[in-house]
């Protein structure tokens, strides 16, 4: 147990350490209202990170999620301001995300192009198309959209609940359901998976579509938090999600890792920004620190796998 989940447990230990340090040096971090706001802000990121974990487990990557997120947010905003009920806006956002995911999936799985270049191209294409269309204008939302029309407190709890339900459901599906195991099989060795009777290309396509759908859901979870939609929302979201996934112990070479680690990784990263503020480090450092954390996580994995190889060879 300890050895098998060493990677996830060490992230959890790091998280506990940061939380402990915050309790000692900055007890104001634990005031209920700011803490609830922090968790609500991170709820959409958790949903995207879960999807990203599946993509990386399948040995692919998707850096277009930030742009997809922005396109879905603006479209959801436009649908909502056209007086469409929320029951239609939400599926619309999810479907649009799935469609953009399908474009990535078709290019990666159908034409067998490398996912990094495909999603780099779609990232820029969606982002520029949105800027062309929207020219930076915010979308104002009608009454009754923010917090789904409930009070702020109820809305916040709802968003956190949605994110946690998605996390638990996906963690169980990837562990116990055939569809989830397919992703691991394809990510470990696509050729072996094919010989075992799976269809790796179909699985890859499915993973990208699912990633898009989750991004659409996350966009909607973000839209309801504010009275208007920022067309630049989701900038850098792909890096946040990848950082959480990599820190959470999902191997970038595919086939290894689980969503509980990703959850711990995301919480750890989420605590860093408030911790910086309490330590009086300026917010401008956030991007640099994020990059450093990604590098640290992959270096730790690299050193470990090198040691393991050394002890066997």
């Amino acid at each position: 147990m300890l050895k098998r989940h060493f990677r996830e447990l060490s992230v959890a230990a790091a998280l506990a350490l940061v939380l402990l340090a915050l309790a000692v040096f900055a007890p104001s971090f634990y005031q209920p209202q700011p803490l609830l706001s922090l968790l609500t802000r991170e709820a959409p990121t958790l949903v995207v990170a879960c999807g990203m974990a599946l993509v990386i487990v399948a040995r692919q990557i998707d850096i277009s999620v930030g742009s997809q997120f922005a396109v879905c947010s603006v479209c959801a905003g436009l649908l909502a301001s056209a007086k469409l009920p929320l029951a239609l806006t939400l599926p619309g956002s999810v479907a649009l995300g799935a469609l953009m995911g399908a474009v990535n999936g078709a290019l990666v799985a159908g034409l067998r192009l490398p996912s990094i270049v495909v999603t780099l191209a779609t990232m820029v294409t969606w982002r520029e198309a949105l800027r062309w269309q929207q020219q930076g204008a915010f979308v104002n939302l009608p009454d009754g959209v923010q917090w789904f029309g409930f009070s702020q407190l109820a809305g916040q709890w709802m968003l956190i609940a949605v994110a946690l339900v998605m996390l638990v459901a996906l963690a169980l599906v990837t562990k116990h359901f055939a569809a989830g195991r397919f992703i691991y099989a394809v990510g470990s060795d696509a050729e072996a998976a094919r010989l075992a009777g799976l269809r790796p290309q179909l699985t890859t396509f499915g993973v990208f579509v699912f990633m898009g759908a989750l991004t659409g859901l996350a966009a909607m979870m973000n839209v309801v938090q504010a009275p208007q939609v920022d067309p630049k929302s989701g900038t850098g979201l792909e890096l946040k999600a990848i950082a959480a996934v990599v820190v959470g112990g999902v191997a970038i070479s595919g086939g290894r890792g689980n969503l509980w680690g990703v959850f711990a990784g995301l919480l750890l990263l989420a605590c860093i920004a408030p911790a910086l503020t309490h330590l009086h480090v300026e917010a401008y450092w956030e991007k640099a620190i994020q990059g450093a954390i990604i590098l640290l996580a992959v270096v730790a994995d690299g050193v470990r796998s090198r040691k393991e190889k050394g002890s066997h060879g």
Binding site: L113, T125, E128, Y284, A288, I294
Partner: protein, 338 residues
């Protein structure tokens, strides 16, 4: 006779020939649509504006030949630009010294990528994604997002804004770098080892190539060239900001792939990259002259990259099918002749 005909066919179907044709098409189209597009002044303008992306694309070519990728060059350009400004304005160094230090920093940053990729055998994709965030983040942190470096001396700005011997000054630097990288890739054993690594890394290792050193060389070179591009960028705009070169990595990768270098490594040429840079530069400039919004250039670059990738996959597939048929044909002939 037959081989002559075959050779013509091969030459016509070559990636570079098609690209040259596309480039001519772009030129004639924009010349008929836009005003002043075909003028000598505008040609110089295109040259001047394509130097930085051209440099990054040149440096990206050996990396993609090895089957790697460097997503951090655009961010490194930004970091080097503001460090150059910082060294000159705040540290009070004369311009040439500041430039020399900046080039050293660029090579060091490339060395960071190189050491993570070669020592720990980490995938270049995730390493350079991390440094992509790290370098840009450092640039933002150092300038606190607002600080801008301006008022550079005119003798320095000549590098970016004036002409020497009839062409924009920075073009001479570009030509030198292009020649060096062309020699490296096509006329030395280094180039052969880049291709060998991209074609089959394990095979290259068994053939006794020093893979780590060759890979490190490609990434350090990219860092150095990114720093050079940063200095030229600063001289052209007369200012250095933390967001310098945002998204340039996409343009550079697109130019290389458009130029026929396989994204899987092993196949490609510097000549192709130069044509790819020209195609993108003419497209960007032409769209401005055709009074299209700025965003269209970004959209078209993304679509162009996907089309170029799909086309290379398709031509691979055709070649495989032809080889298969030929093999089948010779197999069926043999029993008759025996």
């Amino acid at each position: 006779m037959n081989t002559d005909k075959h050779r013509w066919k091969v030459l016509l179907a070559r990636h570079e020939t098609i690209l040259l044709f596309v480039l001519a098409l772009e030129w004639f189209y924009f010349n008929s649509v836009g005003r002043n597009f075909g003028s000598l002044d505008n040609s110089y303008d295109i040259l001047r504006h394509s130097v930085e992306i051209g440099l990054l694309a040149l440096a990206m070519t050996p990396i993609i030949l090895t089957g790697g990728i460097d997503l951090s060059v655009g961010s490194l350009l930004g970091l080097c630009a503001i460090l150059f400004g910082k060294l000159w304005r705040d540290a009070g160094l004369p311009i040439p010294v500041a430039a020399a230090f900046t080039l050293g920093i660029g090579a060091l940053a490339g060395g960071l990528n190189a050491s993570l990729i070669t020592w720990l055998r980490l995938p270049p994709l995730i390493v350079t994604l991390g440094t992509y965030s790290l370098f840009r983040g450092l640039a933002e942190a150092i300038t606190r997002g607002v600080d801008t470096f301006t008022n550079f001396p005119t003798s320095f700005l000549q590098l970016g804004q004036e002409s020497a011997l009839g062409v924009p000054t920075q073009v001479w630097l570009f030509i030198i770098v292009a020649i060096v990288i062309w020699l490296l890739v096509h006329r030395t054993t280094f180039g052969r080892s880049f291709r060998a690594i991209g074609f089959a890394p394990e095979g290259a290792r068994y053939a006794g190539l020093p893979i780590e050193r060759r890979l490190a060389m490609a990434y350090v070179l990219a860092g150095f060239v990114a720093a050079l591009a940063a200095i030229i960028y600063t001289a052209r705009l007369g200012q250095a900001k933390a967001d310098a070169g945002t998204g340039y990595e996409l343009f550079a990768i697109t130019a290389v792939v458009l130029g026929g270098t396989s994204i899987f490594g092993g196949v490609g040429s510097v000549r192709g990259t130069l044509l790819g840079v020209a195609a993108i530069a003419v497209l960007n400039n032409g769209l401005v002259h055709a009074r299209q919004p700025r965003e269209v250039a970004g959209i078209l670059t993304g679509v162009l990259l996907l089309l170029a990738l799909s086309a290379s996959i398709f031509s691979n597939w055709l070649a495989n099918r032809r080889a298969f048929r030929q093999a089948a044909a010779t197999n069926s002939e043999q029993p008759n002749s025996a």
